[in-house]
Symmetry: C4
Subunit: 209 residues, 4 copies
Amino acid sequence: MNHKPGFEGRAGITRVEAFSDGVLAIIITIMVLELHAPEASGFAALWALWPTFFSYVISYNYIAIYWVNHHRMFGHARVVTNGLLWSNIVLLFSLSMIPFSTAYLGKHFGDPVASAVYAVSLLAPSFAFLCLESSIRRSGSQSAESQAYYRSTTRKGTFAAAIYALAVLLGVFWPYVGVTLAGLVGLFWIVPYGPLDSLFLRCEDLNAS
Amino acid sequence: MNHKPGFEGRAGITRVEAFSDGVLAIIITIMVLELHAPEASGFAALWALWPTFFSYVISYNYIAIYWVNHHRMFGHARVVTNGLLWSNIVLLFSLSMIPFSTAYLGKHFGDPVASAVYAVSLLAPSFAFLCLESSIRRSGSQSAESQAYYRSTTRKGTFAAAIYALAVLLGVFWPYVGVTLAGLVGLFWIVPYGPLDSLFLRCEDLNAS
Amino acid sequence: MNHKPGFEGRAGITRVEAFSDGVLAIIITIMVLELHAPEASGFAALWALWPTFFSYVISYNYIAIYWVNHHRMFGHARVVTNGLLWSNIVLLFSLSMIPFSTAYLGKHFGDPVASAVYAVSLLAPSFAFLCLESSIRRSGSQSAESQAYYRSTTRKGTFAAAIYALAVLLGVFWPYVGVTLAGLVGLFWIVPYGPLDSLFLRCEDLNAS
Amino acid sequence: MNHKPGFEGRAGITRVEAFSDGVLAIIITIMVLELHAPEASGFAALWALWPTFFSYVISYNYIAIYWVNHHRMFGHARVVTNGLLWSNIVLLFSLSMIPFSTAYLGKHFGDPVASAVYAVSLLAPSFAFLCLESSIRRSGSQSAESQAYYRSTTRKGTFAAAIYALAVLLGVFWPYVGVTLAGLVGLFWIVPYGPLDSLFLRCEDLNAS
């Protein structure tokens, strides 16, 4: 049998979503605790905070994008399988590491280790997201709309994961290149219904027809 | 098409509201972590905490007001558009900066930079709230009641944003004046159904009839 | 009109309850952050943590009791009035101060100021709870069962508030007496359906019949 | 009467579950705050964090398992009794101690006190879980499926508690043995529908038929 007792039907999906929302809401908010009000007065002391602030903006944006895509994905789910449950738990775990890796990058901007760690921390949730998608693809809705969504997500997700992996390697040798590359991938997901996505969908619709 | 998959109809609205509630509940509560129990015993050590405590009261009140107005606003929403989703994410981001700016003000009361930063941190969510309102106005309920609500909120919101902008400027030259001015704006929103609001609504009802 | 737009009917009540649950879940959990793993190894360093641990147990218990009573109370609410909304916001605020006052007591056990502050922090939410109850009594269910509940809660709440006020005064002169007195009041609420409560209800049922 | 006002029927169960979800989401996420980005750059400083990171992985996994089993268990509940309410509150309390005990273990790996404390912190929620199960068994669903679930959970839970108790004792003399033993018990619950569980269920089905 495929379903998990205590997580039956749409109610089970809703429960997993609600728990994920809780974890994401906490991850997105605790990062602000890293912003400590400077003890010294004046503009110079405040300005010294900009890397931490910038890290916070980036991380906030990433988590927000995952939250939007998480709901979009769960709109196609039908049953809570073991695969869905645990790939979701792994996804939330890997997302909970982003505050750490961004703080580390903020403290050591331009350092090869920090750049690689940062790219790894973006690679990990992108893998977990692909696992989650693969799990929902097998047990979820099989409508034409869902199929198009799965194809688009797999394509975009695999592409993103490949770029992140490249960013890990490049980050070791040219830190700024690695970080910039990893950061650019975010743009794919910020505009999930924008021109980029339409392009992907259109090609696939042609293939499917 | 206007709606976002995974956020269809009222269920989508409810989801965005629930996530916002989670973030607001965390923002409103983590501020208390800034209140550290003094190591020294006696009343003097406790009394030294009053600026931090006062900051906490102010911030708590601001976030509570936004929570109340956020729900009031979402009562008029009908679909989750990209505009609604992202202006809400920006609103939550700007609200998450209030604990920082208030702590900064608490540490440097009377400092021009701290006063300006504080006023900016109140100006930012007021802009985001206007964007959110504009997004809901276009895609939400078009009933006479909703129209009256939109008019009242736009008027009050624009007025508040103008005062905050003035407070930023004044805060640079006369810190206490800037902070006092910014703080007074809160009163508009504390009494959203009070005499002030009735006054605004009445003028508009006359214009509309 | 009495109700608040965006908080209509039972759905509005549920929303206020869900937000309160979120805040209470955070308050009850952040206290554990005060328990820092000792740097030194061995049993002595661990044992030195007992006042903080004890404080955590007490505070956890208090918040849990308020959570249970909060739901019990909201079971009788029918509409979200301004009074309900703001007395609930004040209640959550005063409860958010308990971690602070308990940590302060843990650091300065036996100090008159700490004892008085602790008793004040228990007195404040008990006042807010009475305000909330008074607001729900006026706008909520008027069934015989609800009436009995209101009478019982007012009686118990007023009694508790009086003891807390006494504990504040006594704490200034005899710290241990004040704290013990304040702590004992918790027992009333731990056993809300126990023999104590039945006694109160029985007297009132006699009066009402 | 058995039920608690304000927590009637399935809605009451859902409420207790939602609050528990909130607390679990916070516990699982605040642990990441213990991971501080190292001040020094380079791989050595990062590598020094591995015990803390490892502790975080272990604790995250434990809380995730409890979250899954908590929902599975509540799927069989029918009414909110005093026993269910308070054993759930005690369960959440004991789980909130796991971040502390794991951080303590991470700092003093191989220390007898740390090993015993760690095993005690795993023993405590396993006791609370058995109490919760016993409370739900008495007041919850009595279907054949639920009965099989209760038998399986009692057997597995008692077995786990016994191993944890043994780990406490062994940890005092051979720290590594105690911790390894306690850690291994987790495997039982990671695979709640795996081969191990089927084995248990099969034996019991034979006994029951």
